[in-house]
């Protein structure tokens, strides 16, 4: 079963997005912040990580940078709010799979994630 890690500091988002993908036969793990995500990724080895950029404490960008300095090539989809372009281009240079803009359209998210997990319906 493909594994998805959802990193978001919003409990509603964590809960309902996890539910959404579980219904589609995805093994979902959740992390409520950057530090927790960095701790979980080596253990859980997710196939894909949905990483929110703006979070309390450690930001998504810091998580991404830390992963890459650890030579961890985990595939990441960045979930961005209305960020400036500097962040986007830096994230791209650090090799992210794609961007999802908040607030997202569920269909779009579904398509993107399922494709990356090889579960295209």
């Amino acid at each position: 079963m493909p594994k998805l890690l959802i990193v978001d500091d919003e409990v509603d988002v964590r809960e309902f997005s996890a539910n959404f993908f579980r219904k589609r036969g995805v093994d979902v793990a959740v992390a409520s912040g950057g530090a927790e995500a960095l701790e979980m990724i080596p253990r859980e080895r997710p196939d894909l990580c949905l990483l929110d950029i703006r979070m309390q404490g450690m930001t998504g960008m810091e998580v991404l940078r830390e992963l890459r300095t650890r030579n961890d090539a985990t595939r990441v989809v960045m979930v961005s709010g209305i960020e400036d372009e500097g962040v986007v281009s830096e994230a791209q240079s650090l090799g992210v799979v794609s961007f999802i803009h908040k607030p997202l359209v569920l269909d779009e998210l579904e398509k993107k994630v399922m494709k990356e997990l090889g579960l295209s319906s």
Binding site: E10, N19, F20, G81, I82, K102, L106
Partner: protein
């Protein structure tokens, strides 16, 4: 009184020889009282009488006495006497006629003076520039009775003179130009010697510039143009048409204008200062508000976006679950509930999308577009804006009447942004016209947006005039502030349209946007954008 003293005689009671004795007694008493108690200035009267007798004894006596001695009494006495008598009356007659003539000849000047007094009192009281200029042109037409008056005010940003007030008594087919270039020959002449220009003098003048100046004046149908300087800067020019009676302008007229001009300068300066102060205050207030919004916008939009994101997720997931498990709702009652839930979730998601549009709209347009500036054909931009509007506007529910120059007209600017401006104006006009249609239900009403564009010097002047519901006076000021919407439901408008338009026109393109509206009749937007060279 006399009744008391002579009643005895009136009743025919003869008391001979004392018939009038009471009258004589009365006179005696009065005379005694006057002298004794100084009831009249009797000495003065005596002195005057004495002087008169002495002077006349000399004036009449000397020539008559000489004549008498030389010729004896003869016919010469009568003409000589008459001559002496008339020459005595002469000065009084002369004085009388002089006064009459003066009153008649200087009547014009008196009237001028009166008007000037009234004008200076009136002008000092008025603080709004528009009203002040209106008063000045009224005074001018009334005092001197001229066919038309136009007042042009200097605009620092465009360096041109704009027609700010106009009054016409005689109508004709021409009209005064809306704008005069700041470097016109006329302005140069004013700046050089500050004197008014008189058309009749110019056509008879032999100076080198005179023919060109005269041509400039006849373009304004002007007989006289005079400058008003404020702190030695040419701020205003006043264009006067010919007098109604077609007489020439006199020295008096011109000196009146000079005085009036000086008074007007003070008043205009005053009004400008007042206007400036009001504007600065408004700007400060606005800037403060915008700064606060700017600081908050980033954090606020992030926060709102996150809420929307969460709501979208919760609602979307529930709708998804409901859809997946549809087979479980076999009974009609449960099916009804499921449908209601689904509808509710979808409504939530629609709201999320609308909220996102607001946040994106704000962020998108407060930033400047990336494309460069290029010449854009007005007709092309208008067409593509109209196409954009088709998503919402049904093509046959309104019409656009274009009045564009057939040879084409190009704006220097960013195509996407100007298209956004046009789109917003069409969109707003559509909503306003639909509101009028729905609310006023007038027979024969058809939503019509008139678009007019023309080149004026270095700019393109556009007007978008709709026949919609109009804007209430109390909403006018707020119209361009972000998040203000008059549209029936907040769902219809984000409240960002006009705010964005103004930013695009004024900040990104250095243009100008103004609005005028009559509630129940329609709204007109006037836009000035730079013309492509």
């Amino acid at each position: 009184m006399t009744g008391i003293v002579d009643y005895i005689i009136k009743y025919h009671l003869e008391i001979y020889p004392y018939g009038y004795f009471s009258a004589l007694l009365f006179i005696g008493i009065i005379a005694y009282a006057i002298v004794r108690y100084r009831l009249m200035d009797i000495t003065l009267a005596f002195t005057k009488l004495g002087i008169l007798i002495v002077v006349y004894a000399l004036v009449l006596g000397i020539p008559l006495g000489i004549g008498w001695r030389m010729f004896g009494f003869g016919p010469w006495v009568f003409p000589t006497g008459a001559a002496i008598l008339l020459s005595t009356i002469g000065p009084f007659v002369y004085y009388f006629f002089e006064r009459e003539a003066e009153a008649r000849l200087l009547w014009e000047q008196r009237r001028y003076q009166k008007t000037l007094r009234q004008a200076s009192a009136g002008m000092g009281r008025i603080r709004e520039l528009d009203k002040l200029l209106g008063l000045i042109s009224f005074i001018l037409t009334r005092t001197v009775k001229i066919e038309h008056v136009g007042i042009y005010m200097f605009r620092k940003d465009t360096r041109t003179f704009l027609l700010s007030s106009m009054r016409r008594i005689k109508t004709g087919e021409w009209s005064l130009p809306f704008e005069l270039p700041g470097d016109m020959l006329m302005m140069k002449a004013f700046r050089q010697d500050g004197a008014p220009l008189v058309y009749d003098e110019l056509i008879h003048s032999s100076s080198e510039e005179a023919p060109d100046l005269a041509r400039g004046m006849s373009g304004l149908h002007a007989a006289l143009v005079f400058p008003i300087f404020i702190r030695s800067e040419l701020m205003t020019i006043v264009v006067l048409g010919p007098k109604i009676r077609h007489t020439v302008y006199t020295e008096d007229d011109i000196s009146v204008f000079t005085i009036l001009g000086n008074q007007a300068a003070l008043a205009i300066d005053n009004a400008l200062f007042y206007q400036d102060m009001k504007q600065t205050q408004e700007q400060l207030f606005k800037a403060e508000k915008m700064a606060t919004i700017g600081i908050m916008a980033d954090g606020l939009s992030h926060q709102i976006n996150n809420r929307l994101h969460a709501i979208g997720f919760v609602s979307g997931d529930m709708e998804d679950t409901l859809r997946m498990k549809r087979a479980l709702f076999a009974s009609p009652e449960l099916e009804d509930i499921a449908q209601e839930f689904e509808r509710g979730f979808r409504r939530l998601e629609e709201n999320v999308v609308h909220g996102r549009n607001i946040v994106q709209g704000l962020m998108k347009y407060t930033r400047k577009g990336e494309e460069g500036e290029a010449p854009c054909e007005v007709a092309d931009v208008l067409r593509s804006a109209w196409e954009m509007a088709q998503f919402k506007v049904k093509a046959d529910s309104m019409r656009i009447v274009e009045d564009l120059p057939p040879e084409g007209l190009r704006i220097r600017g960013n195509f996407t942004q100007i298209q956004e401006v046009f789109f917003n104006l069409i969109d707003n006009a559509y909503d306003a016209m639909m509101q009028r249609k729905d609310e006023m239900k007038e027979p024969g009403f058809f939503p019509t947006l008139r678009v007019h564009a023309q080149r004026v010097e270095t700019v393109v002047a556009l007007t978008f005039k709709d026949n919609g519901i109009g804007v209430k006076p109390e909403d006018r000021e707020k119209l361009f502030t972000p998040f203000f919407t008059t549209k029936a439901t907040s769902r219809k408008g984000t409240g960002l349209g006009l705010y964005v338009i103004r930013k695009i026109v004024e900040e990104n393109h250095g243009g100008r946007i103004e609005m005028e509206s009559v509630p129940g009749e329609g709204t007109e937007f006037r836009i000035i954008l730079p013309a492509a060279v």
